[in-house]
């Protein structure tokens, strides 16, 4: 009996010991996750597109901070009397400056890099690979335009190549590579291959022809950014782009459709803030309203509306052009001279100032716009004006303005704007070569409404329209409109060598007043 018990015990011990890691490999696979073998990378591409539209966390984190709080107000599309809307008065908030960087490197950039690398030399995914390269170029240009030198060639590769502390590439080098990438990828798109992407591509449903146009249109944007710093290169690449074939009408516009799903990443981030989270914080800027009103721009009613009480989100307001009134930038709700009530022409209530139209741009299912026919035509107008490409600047200009007016319909203008209205507007405000650059870039400024990243970048490049900066108590730019966003403070801590080298390259330090490489005074 006793021996039996001992044998059982010893036997049990041996069994346990022998089976000490039985099933362990199975146990250590998370049943709720996909592996590299089972993953469909198109879904990751969807994520990159969606997050680039600005609402990475269902609360429009980066969109709120960089596109709205800073971008829209510095560029005087909007204005705000709310303290934390720091862009209105050029006060400093390090976290807001870094929000776009913070939200995208670990999300959309991580994803797009993974798609590009995991589909490399993969026949079944060859178009996905090229499309991902093209879209990555779009994402990286926006990032470098905001911050200057940025991690580019080594970005997002933490798992794939083990680079944990990416170097900051020079913006000049980044631009060279963006152009080369766009060209190469566009050329390698294979129209004859089966569309393996389909609805996973939120922009074009995997349509290779459209992506080709996108690549060359984006090439125009990238090239023209070099107009001051390297005109020759700009000229060359605009030529390449035109030869490759750019957008032909507004149906080519790169838009991400959104959904009326509050508190969801799939809602339009701008709308989520402007008519959701922060409905009373901003007004349309006097600068923009005055300009649109002064030129009888048919877009005014698509952009602005006057609500009885903006904090009531259901209040869609009155978008009659005549009642629109812009709020000047640089005022607050305090007790001093900068109190909004002291602003010239104060209408007696801040609610009399226009807010962003809640049936168009501030609508949860409004699209987010990445790149348009209007922008491309306007940039080509400038190229033509500069003599870099053949053709008439006025023709390009007219096409650009017309496309800019008609695209309001894509955002939801009601009643719809017509070509006739565009013609009327152009007749009243014709292109004049002598003021061409000012006209072109002012139009560009209007047509990039709610795409503050692009509006701000082009304004910095072109200087148009001439904006009057504010000089508010406690601003950090000595009363000038900021020229860049500052790097995340975290980078100084975790990537100090590369960060310091990048800051050294800025000349005047990691400040909002330092200029990026292509931004020459």
């Amino acid at each position: 009996m006793r021996h039996k018990i001992y044998s059982i015990l010893i036997g049990a011990g041996v069994l346990v010991a022998a089976g000490c890691d039985k099933n362990f490999e199975e146990i250590n696979i998370d049943p709720t996750k996909l592996t590299p073998e089972t993953m469909n990378y198109s879904y990751l591409f969807t994520a990159a597109e969606l997050v680039t539209s600005g609402n990475s966390d269902a609360n429009a984190y980066e969109d709120w901070r960089n596109n709205l709080i800073y971008g829209s107000t510095m560029i005087q599309h909007l204005s705000s009397t709310t303290g934390y809307w720091a862009g209105d008065k050029y006060t400093y908030n390090a976290g807001y400056n870094a929000a776009y960087w913070d939200a995208n490197y670990t999300n959309s950039i991580k994803n797009i890099v993974d798609v590009v690398e995991q589909t490399r030399d993969n026949e079944a995914n060859k178009n996905l690979h090229q499309i991902a390269r093209i879209f990555k170029a779009f994402m990286m240009q926006r990032m470098t335009d905001m911050y200057g030198d940025i991690p580019y060639s080594e970005a997002g590769l933490g798992y794939l190549t083990g680079v944990t502390h990416p170097k900051y590439d020079k913006q000049q080098a980044i631009y060279d590579d963006l152009l080369a990438e766009l060209k190469d990828a566009a050329e390698k798109l294979d129209a004859s291959a089966l569309n393996s992407i389909g609805s996973a591509d939120l922009l074009y449903g995997g349509d290779v022809a459209k992506w080709k146009k996108f690549a060359y249109s984006l090439m125009v944007r990238v090239a023209m950014r070099l107009s001051k710093v390297d005109p020759d290169k700009a000229k060359t690449w605009v030529g390449t782009a035109v030869a490759g074939g750019v957008f032909t009408d507004i149906n080519d516009n790169a838009l991400v459709a959104h959904e009326d799903r509050p508190s969801s990443t799939t809602a339009n981030g701008n709308a989520w803030i402007l008519a959701g989270q922060d409905p009373n914080a901003s007004r349309v800027s006097k600068t923009l309203v005055d300009l649109l009103k002064g030129t009888n721009d048919p877009r005014l009613s698509s952009i602005a509306t006057v609500a009885t009480d903006p904090s009531n989100k259901a209040d869609k307001g009155d978008n009659t052009p005549a009642v629109q009134q812009g709020q000047p930038n640089g005022y607050d709700l305090g007790t001093t001279a900068t109190y909004i009530g002291n602003a010239p022409g104060y209408p007696g209530s801040v609610n009399k100032y226009s807010i962003v139209n809640r049936n168009t741009f501030a609508r949860l299912d409004a699209p987010i716009i990445f790149l348009t026919h209007a922008e491309t035509q306007l940039l080509l107008a400038e190229a033509a004006q500069r003599g870099w490409i053949p053709g008439s600047a006025a023709t390009y200009y007219n096409a650009g303005v017309t496309a800019g007016i008609l695209m309001m319909n894509q955002v939801g203008a009601s009643p719809a704007l017509t070509t006739a209205q565009a013609t009327t507007y152009l007749a009243a405000n014709p292109y004049v070569a002598a003021t061409g650059l000012q006209q072109i870039n002012t139009q560009y400024w209007i047509t990039t409404f709610m795409d503050s990243y692009e509006a701000w970048a082009n304004w910095r490049r072109s200087g148009f329209p001439a904006l009057t900066p504010v000089n508010y108590f406690g601003n950090v730019t000595a009363g000038t409109i900021p020229r860049r966003f500052t790097y995340p403070l975290n980078e100084a801590a975790v990537n100090p060598d590369n960060y310091s080298a990048a800051v050294a390259g800025l000349g005047s330090g990691d400040k909002m007043t330092s200029r990026v490489w292509w931004d020459k005074p």
């Binding site: 018990i5 146990i27 469909n40 798992y159 709700l333 403070l489 801590a493 975790v494």
Partner: protein
């Protein structure tokens, strides 16, 4: 009073002499000394009957007398103990007359006897004529009920009651007659009764108390008060895996705290109640209120990025103490941990295994030490015992704020005189001088511009907490049980916030057969908490609103909470600056926890020295969270809903074999076993979905988008372990243990590791002749290796799909934010420890000292990497960290008189921590999530060469003379990059426990202290920013000129408007973190309890067997601190990111009454 026979009167003195020199008796005797309950030792019995010398046919005199004792019921004393060893001829025949037998066997041995009384004889040498009243040794033979042979004329029944500190009855106290194995133990009411004679010395001993000797005198009704103590003599303690060992045999440091320490001035979270009690155990205050979690670390932090809290084991069941959620940079509530569900009334003792050697048998889980909680069990007493305890306390906030009250609401020196201006500045105290003039508030109402000093008083309420416990105990000779029921209700100081807890604790042992024993224990807790407070970021944090509201803003203006449309009545236009009444009454936060922790074990004794045990334990809970951001919330008008369930369980299966044997002078105790740990965690629900379609209706069905989220984690660890204790003559001990763990979480090719330990104990006082004032001395030393856990799924990149779609398209993501690593191996933690324990003056004074050196290598740490790599961390396996320190415990009884006793214990520990290495090329890592809400560039880091948890931020830039340098705008310049500003971990910790007992009245108090940590105070930062801090008075008129120099080293003359300056250095581009880093050292009067036990004489005849009433107080006074406006123990979370503070739960003072009744 009975007439006492003089000859027996002296017996007590005689008993001090050693007992007879039969080896086997040693073990038995020692038990009599020890305080362990006397047990029938079968080995002993057999030894007695085997004392025959086969060759000479002789027996020892002792054996012969023993037999006589047994058969005739007579009793013997030896004049000299050695006489017992005399070999004598066995008695012949069936001689009935005892004296004749004695004469026969003694004569040949040169001995004689002297008759004391009818049944008692003294054995003497023939030549002696010893006065038997002066010398002699009594032989106490095995006693059992039927053969009991005590002279009825001299034996009386001594009864009494044993109480502990505060007069609480102590059950289970072993009561033995010194020098004998006669004994009993106290019942649930602390009452005992024993047959003893006048002059007998009764030894009262119980774990956790100093044993006490009382000589039976004329009074046969004794009331005995035990004093808490740390008697090393023969105390048996629980060690790793529940193995009981004599404390003297341990080669490492372990401390036990009696359960009664937690029942008086109690804490909801037992972890917090450990503060100041044990040298080397540091409890970080977490400012998250009574339903929050605790952070307990032993001997410092030994993991750079992983878990640093010890393993908790309750009655042998590994107990998950995970925090269910804490606030981070962006707010959130602390959902508490496991320890907050343990009822102090159920705790028998808490054993803290400090060093790695102590916890090495727990394998990888032992790296941070272990805390073993033993709940009360029933006793082998007859009948049913009932104990009732009620603890009622009131809580009041300690308002530590010192606001400036000279300037009121407003901006730039101007008070609000329009509604708009008032709405623009609800949290800005940068206005005009508070002169009582007319001002306008946010409602448009006029008010006198004066300080609103009672905002805290007006908003917070007096909290009330009541915990009732009832325990039933019972048993018979087959087994015993204890059933504890408890109910806790707590209304906190925050309006509309409460906590309810019901618990059932069951403990039972049953002997199915004499060899097969069944043990069952179970602890069930049901807890609901209503409206846990959100911390850190302002939204949802009532403390933020009430702290930062302008100093002339009367918080009661906000009392309606809502506007006419039932939406939040905001104090201003800033939608993130809440109305605290709205948060308190309209936000809804409910959590419920159902937890069952239990174990079942069967132990079978194969022989008297070998047993086998199989046990299954399971710890599991369901934790539900419902969080409703209501319709009309200022910053989220549509509201939203979070509703999820966490389902956790861990099962451990264990089989072990235990052998305990003596070979001559050697003893061996060996244990081998296997263990399988299987841990599963699931969480499912919706997180932050909104808005509600139908306003004010809060149900998941009322939300169009409610992405369902599901997370899962599973891991297993299999182990084989063994331990062997070798003892030599009860003074030298050696313990060797080994455990091999296999991890499912690691690469299959390198997934196991062996953890060895060796420890030795040398009781030198038993060997070396020491001065008489040294009563006990022991040296100990150990070396051990342990580890820390790893998380599953860290070695392979995986992808997930989001809970939402866009245009019906699924959206993918990479699940890891840390780069996976397939080459991870287990962390190694090595520790050497030496210690000494010396007791002086008959244990009136004791010193215990320990030195340890603990080194962590191969630490798995998520190195903070640049997020531009796509990942925020990379998991590497090369961290090194060292903790070195000393622990000192002084225990003593400075005063001991009949009616008054003062016992005190002082503990003190210093831990020196140093980060030795991180990943190559990496000099610092940010501890996960260690970013404050406010303060650019501030984080908590581990930096090579510095102690753990460095608060890193911008320092003032200074010239060589140490003067601050100011820039051209008059702002102080700061360091180029964030620099280390001090560690958030206390280096020195300690406590001073005192019990003053006067008759039945006991006063206990604990003073504890901590030194050597810094804290980054977000509250002070915001008080600067909002113009509330007293420092911000500087420069209000004419601007502030910082004392220091300009960039050309000339005196700074540039004046900056006060608002710009103070809010500048606090929050924006001019932020200087150093300004907000404070020394967090403190001394506190932590708890005071005054209790009165009704004397046994009063209770004697009643139904009630014990009654104690106590006045209790906790967090009574801060005797020293250096942190203005905040409590220095206000850490934001219980994570590794220690040293950050912001708008935490206010310090709360508790006062109450504790009543304990025993029936």
């Amino acid at each position: 009073m009975r007439k006492i026979q003089p000859n027996l009167h002296v017996m007590g003195c005689l008993l001090l002499v050693h007992l007879i020199g039969v080896h086997e008796l040693c073990a038995q005797n020692s038990l009599a000394y020890s305080g362990d309950q006397p047990q029938v030792n079968s080995r002993h019995k057999r030894a007695m009957t085997m004392e025959t010398d086969p060759i000479e046919q002789k027996q020892t005199l002792f054996a012969v007398l023993k037999e006589l004792n047994k058969t005739r019921g007579v009793y013997f004393l030896f004049a000299d103990q050695s006489l017992g060893n005399t070999m004598v001829n066995a008695p012949e025949g069936e001689e009935k007359n005892v004296e004749r037998v004695l004469r026969q066997i003694l004569a040949s041995a040169g001995l004689k006897y002297k008759k004391v009384n009818e049944k008692t004889f003294v054995i003497l040498e023939s030549k002696d004529n010893v006065d038997i009243t002066k010398a002699g040794t009594r032989v106490d033979f095995e006693v059992n009920e039927d053969s009991r042979i005590i002279n009825r004329t001299t034996v009386q029944i001594v009864t009494g009651k044993v109480t502990g500190e505060n007069g609480v009855a102590v059950p289970g106290v072993s009561v033995t007659i010194k020098g004998t194995t006669i004994g009993t133990s106290t019942d649930a009411a602390g009452v005992f009764s024993i047959d003893a004679k006048k002059g007998d010395v009764l030894v009262f001993s119980s774990i956790g108390y100093a044993s006490q000797n009382i000589t039976v005198g004329d009074d046969l009704s004794l009331n005995v008060s035990l004093i808490l103590g740390d008697s090393q003599l023969r105390e048996v303690v629980v060690t790793a895996l529940g193995i009981r060992k004599e404390k003297r045999s341990l080669g490492y440091s372990t401390t036990d705290v009696d359960g009664s320490k937690f029942t008086q001035a109690r804490e909801t979270n037992i972890g917090n109640a450990l503060t100041g009690q044990i040298a080397g155990v540091s409890v970080s205050g977490v400012s998250t209120g009574p339903s929050g979690s605790s952070r307990v670390t032993i001997r410092g932090n030994s993991s750079l990025g992983g878990n640093n809290q010890p393993l908790y084991v309750i009655d042998g069941v590994p107990f998950d103490n995970s925090n269910q959620g804490s606030s981070g940079q962006w707010g959130g509530a602390d959902f508490g941990d496991g320890l907050s569900t343990i009822n102090p009334d159920d705790i028998e003792t808490i054993q803290v295994l400090k060093g790695v050697a102590a916890s090495a048998l727990y394998g990888y889980r032992g790296g941070n030490g272990a805390i073993l909680i033993t709940t009360k069990s029933g006793l082998k007493s007859k009948g049913i015992g009932i104990e009732v305890n009620n603890n009622l306390t009131a809580q009041k906030i300690i308002d530590e704020h010192e606001y400036q009250y000279q300037y009121g609401q407003g901006t730039q020196g101007v008070k609000p005189i329009t509604t708009a201006a008032a709405q623009g500045s609800p949290n800005s105290s940068w206005g005009a001088k508070l002169d009582g003039s007319e001002a306008i508030n946010f409602l448009g109402d006029k008010y006198a511009y004066l300080p609103a000093k009672d905002n805290w008083e007006n908003f917070y309420q007096t909290g009330v907490s009541n915990q009732s416990s009832i325990a039933l105990t019972g048993g018979n000779d087959k087994g015993h049980f204890r059933l504890g029921l408890s109910n806790l209700y707590m209304n906190t100081v925050i309006p509309n916030s409460n906590m309810k807890q019901q618990g059932v604790n069951f403990n039972s042992t049953y002997n199915i057969t004499p060899k097969l024993q069944l043990n069952i224990n179970a602890n069930y807790v049901f807890e609901t908490v209503k409206n846990r407070v959100s911390f850190s970021d302002a939204p949802g944090n009532v403390i933020a609103s009430t702290t930062y509201i302008a100093n002339s803003f009367d918080v009661r203006w906000l009392e309606p909470a809502v506007n006419a449309n039932n939406f939040e009545m905001l104090p201003g236009l800033d939608i993130y600056f809440n109305n605290p009444y709205f948060v308190a009454y309209k936000y809804q936060n409910k959590t419920s926890r159902n937890r069952l922790t239990g174990g079942l074990s069967l132990k079978y004794s194969l022989t008297d020295w070998l047993s086998v045990q199989a046990a299954v334990t399971r710890d599991g809970y369901i934790f539900d969270v419902t969080n409703i951001l209501p319709t009309g919330t200022g910053y989220s008008e549509g509201g939203n809903l979070t509703q999820h369930t966490t389902d956790f369980h861990e099962i451990n299966g264990n089989v072990s074999l235990d052998a305990n044997k003596k070979f001559g002078s050697f003893s061996v105790h060996a244990n081998v076993g296997t263990n399988t740990q299987d841990n599963v965690w699931k969480q499912a629900g919706i997180f932050g979905a909104g808005p509600f379609k139908v306003p004010f209706f809060y149900s998941p069905s009322n939300i169009s988008e409610k992405p369902f989220s599901y997370s899962y984690s599973h891991y297993r660890v299999n182990s084989i372990y063994g331990s062997a204790d070798f003892g030599y003559k009860d003074f030298l001990y050696l313990t060797v243990t080994a455990r091999n763990d296999w991890f499912s979480t690691l690469n299959i090719n390198s997934n196991d590791i062996l953890y060895p330990s060796v420890s030795a104990s040398f009781v030198f006082s038993d060997v070396i002749a020491l001065p008489s004032w040294i009563s006990f001395g022991k040296l100990r030393a150990s070396y051990a290796q342990s580890s820390n856990g790893t998380s599953p799924y860290r070695n392979l990149l995986t992808y997930g799909l989001q809970g939402y779609t866009i245009s019906d398209q699924s959206v993918g993501f990479i699940t890891q934010s840390e780069i996976p690593n397939n080459f991870l191996k287990p962390v190694k933690i090595n520790e050497q420890e030496v210690g000494i324990n010396v007791q002086f003056l008959d244990n009136r004074l004791g010193v215990d000292f320990a030195w340890y050196n603990k080194k962590t290598t191969d630490d798995i740490l998520p190195v903070t990497i640049s997020p531009t790599s796509g990942y925020t961390g990379s998991v590497v396996n090369i961290g090194e960290l060292r903790n070195q320190g000393i622990e000192l415990l002084l225990t003593g009884t400075p005063i001991k008189t009949k009616n008054f006793t003062w016992t005190a214990s002082f503990n003190y520990a210093v831990n020196n921590n140093k980060v030795l290495a991180l990943s190559p090329g990496v000099e610092e890592i940010v501890i996960g999530g260690a970013f404050p809400r406010w303060g650019d560039g501030v984080s908590v880091k581990n930096i090579v060469g510095l102690p753990y948890a460095q608060i890193s931020g911008y320092a003032y830039k200074k010239n060589d003379a140490g003067q601050v340098i100011y820039d051209a705008d008059g702002f102080p310049m700061r360091s180029e990059l964030p620099v280390p500003l001090g560690s958030g971990i206390y280096k020195t910790t300690g406590g001073f426990n005192n019990d003053l007992r006067f008759k039945d009245l006991t006063l206990s108090f604990l003073i504890d202290f901590k030194y050597g940590a810094k804290i980054y105070s977000g509250t002070n930062l915001l008080m600067y920013s909002y113009g509330l801090h007293e420092n911000t008075l500087l420069g209000r008129e004419g601007g502030y000129i910082g004392p220091g120099v300009d960039e050309s080293n000339k005196a700074n003359t540039k004046a900056v408007p006060a608002q710009l300056y103070w809010s500048g250095i606090s929050t924006d581009a001019h932020h200087v973190s150093e300004e907000f880093v404070y020394d967090a050292s403190f001394i506190k009067l932590r708890s005071v309890a005054l209790s009165y036990s009704l004397p046994a004489s009063i209770l004697k005849r009643g139904f009630v067997k014990g009654a104690t009433i106590g006045l209790v107080a906790r967090n009574l006074l801060t005797l020293m601190k250096h942190t203005p406006n905040i409590d220095p123990e206000s850490n934001l979370t219980n994570t590794n990111a220690q040293g950050l503070e912001l708008s935490g739960y206010p310090a709360v003072r508790n006062l109450g009454v504790n009543v304990n009744l025993k029936f």
